[in-house]
Amino acid sequence: MFLHELKYELLVCLRVKEILIWMIIFPVCLGAFFKMALYNVYEKDIGFSTIEVAVVENSPNTALHTVLDNIEKQDDAFLKATYTDKEEAEKLLQNKEVSGIIFSDAELTLTVDGKGMRSTMLSDFVKTYNDRQRIITEAVKNDPVSAQAVIDELSKDISTCTEIPLNDGNPNYYVQYFYNLIAMVAIFGSLTGLHITINNQANLSALGARKNCSPTPKSISTLASLIGSIIIQGGCMVICVTYIKYVLKVDFGSHLPLVYISAFIGGILGVSLGFFVGSIGRIRTDMKTSILISVSLLSCFLSGLMVGNMKVTVQKNLPWFNKINPAAVISDSFHCLDYYKGYDMFITKIVTMLVISAIFMLLGFIMIRRKKYADL
């Protein structure tokens, strides 16, 4: 009985090409767009890149030239100077072609275009230059003998910091957009889950009414539909992860099988959300669809799909919400795998997903438990 139902559930799901196709097209397109849009972002935004700066000298400042030339000679030079006059420099700054203007007089002064990190770095450079100039001037004044030692000391290229990575994970912050994309596909699995109740409830469809007249108990046929939908959605999740990993070549770290498991469980979460919303009373189907889409998008938004640091903002204001927000839990599960050495966090996330799914399913079953309807 159960297998018969399951067989046909799968058959129907596979032939309702609409959802299936969209569930595959969706991550394929968006994944490609993300990849295109974010490909460069990593180097340009959070990663370290060269800061363009205009230099305006009142009188030729050879010391400054030497320093700047030395910096530019380095491999990862953080500064690139353009020597020009004041007017031109201001134009460049306005057109965003340079991030700041260094004016060279007795001391260096700086004009920057905003308060960003680039400005900070520039101002630190200028400050350091001034500081050094001061130290050297003072040294020469106090003890000309040791002055050369002071200068030598200052021009030594030193590296005082040793980096201690906290994890072996992908340092690319933007991989989280792909985590969120997978979470979105999983949550949109709720659309797959929505039709379960519709096809099994007598008051929602003629098919449901017919099924209700058969000797197959509703719990069995509903369970078969649920499992069928989970299998289908799980398949979509597997395709989605495979595509992102092997076609878009996004680095998921070293736990790929667990990524698949986590995505699959995410799919279960999505389907059970849809099942739950589907079983709420007699709301029209298009209404239920809007509710699902809205909930899904809200969940994804708060998990940082659109604006990357949304999750951090949520963490600051409503930390508990990140622990239960479905999209956040799903995307966090991938991120845990990549970032944490142990599996504790990952297991916590997986358990959270399963508990949320179980609650949705339970509530769904409770709501469809009623056998007779006051109205059809």
């Binding site: 609409e18 969706f26 295109m36 700054l93 965003k96 990190m117 200028v126 500081d131 659109m306």
Partner: protein, 384 residues
Amino acid sequence: MQIFKAFMKVLKKKLPSGLIYIVVFLCIAVPMALNGKESEKYEDSTLKICIFDEDDTPESKALIEYIDKKHDIVSFEKDKDILFDKLYWEEADYALTINKGYSKALESGDTNDMFGCYRVHYSYATVYMETYLNEYVSSVRAFIAGGQDSYKAAISAVDALSEETEVEIADNSDPDYPERFSSYFQYMPYILISVLMNTLCPVLMTLNRKDIRYRTNCSCVRPNRYTVQLFAGSTVFVTAVWLILMIAGLFMYGGVFKGNAWLAVLNSFIFALVSTSIAVLVSSFNIGANGVSLLTQIIGLGMCFLCGVFVPTAFLGKEVRAAANFLPASWYIKANDMLDGSAVFDGSKLAAYILIEVAFIVTIFIVALLIHRIKYNDSDSLDG
């Protein structure tokens, strides 16, 4: 007019589910705008720094004091997982260990391995702090070379490095169009596309159902007129939705718009029409309710990522930027960038951008007309 009226009737039926989208996207738009641009950059250059002092000498204390002058010092337990969380959730920007033997190293000049720094991912904060610390150590070494003992040198370095440098911030932002508010308009394309496609497409798809179109084609209404009336009905509805978004904007702006803000309002209205034409085009294909929802996200999110709505345009690759020129949102963003001061303001350029958006509307609309003609009217000769 009949079709226009029918449009309104169907719309009324579908309005409740449409309202959900409007409310939800408002819920998304406002926090997005509030959260948006500011946190993309560092508001000011004060970092939250966590320091573990394992050397515990006067020299190391001097360093901590120096750091404290400019930055905030936060303290956490020295546990990798906790640190990781704090760094990941941006409760600290940087975690630093002053290794044992720091003061000795200062004296000897063996500067490698003085500090340990933790990272989650590379960031400006990491690079900045490294430079900052190197600089400090250099200065201390310089003072030592100048004949001071290490503690004295550490103090002198703090003094020397604490002198202020004159930094002028060129402000080309527009007081009538503050950054916080401009980010509301920055994210508008996503909101408009999502809301309008999700609400409009179901209505249009009902009216475009094959049997209804065929039935209507049997009447004296010309197919082009049909599409035009659909477009007219859509425009009325779209204007209403857009007004809701603008009213929400008034609240965020804190009063009536001024100056350049009006240009942003105009720009957003044009983009609302762009979204309308996309919705009209999409609903020419009967892709079902779920198809619309998912396609909306593909178009909305995809276009917004590629056109620099979510990720600043400056960070996009050259090829992507070139390709994005074929998408209407990128012209919207170019115009908005000009208004909020991220690009140089140029009135004629702005007009050109808006005209390009209009061109998109016209093009998409013509394509929709053509598709409707081909789809619902095989023999054009009947069309008089």
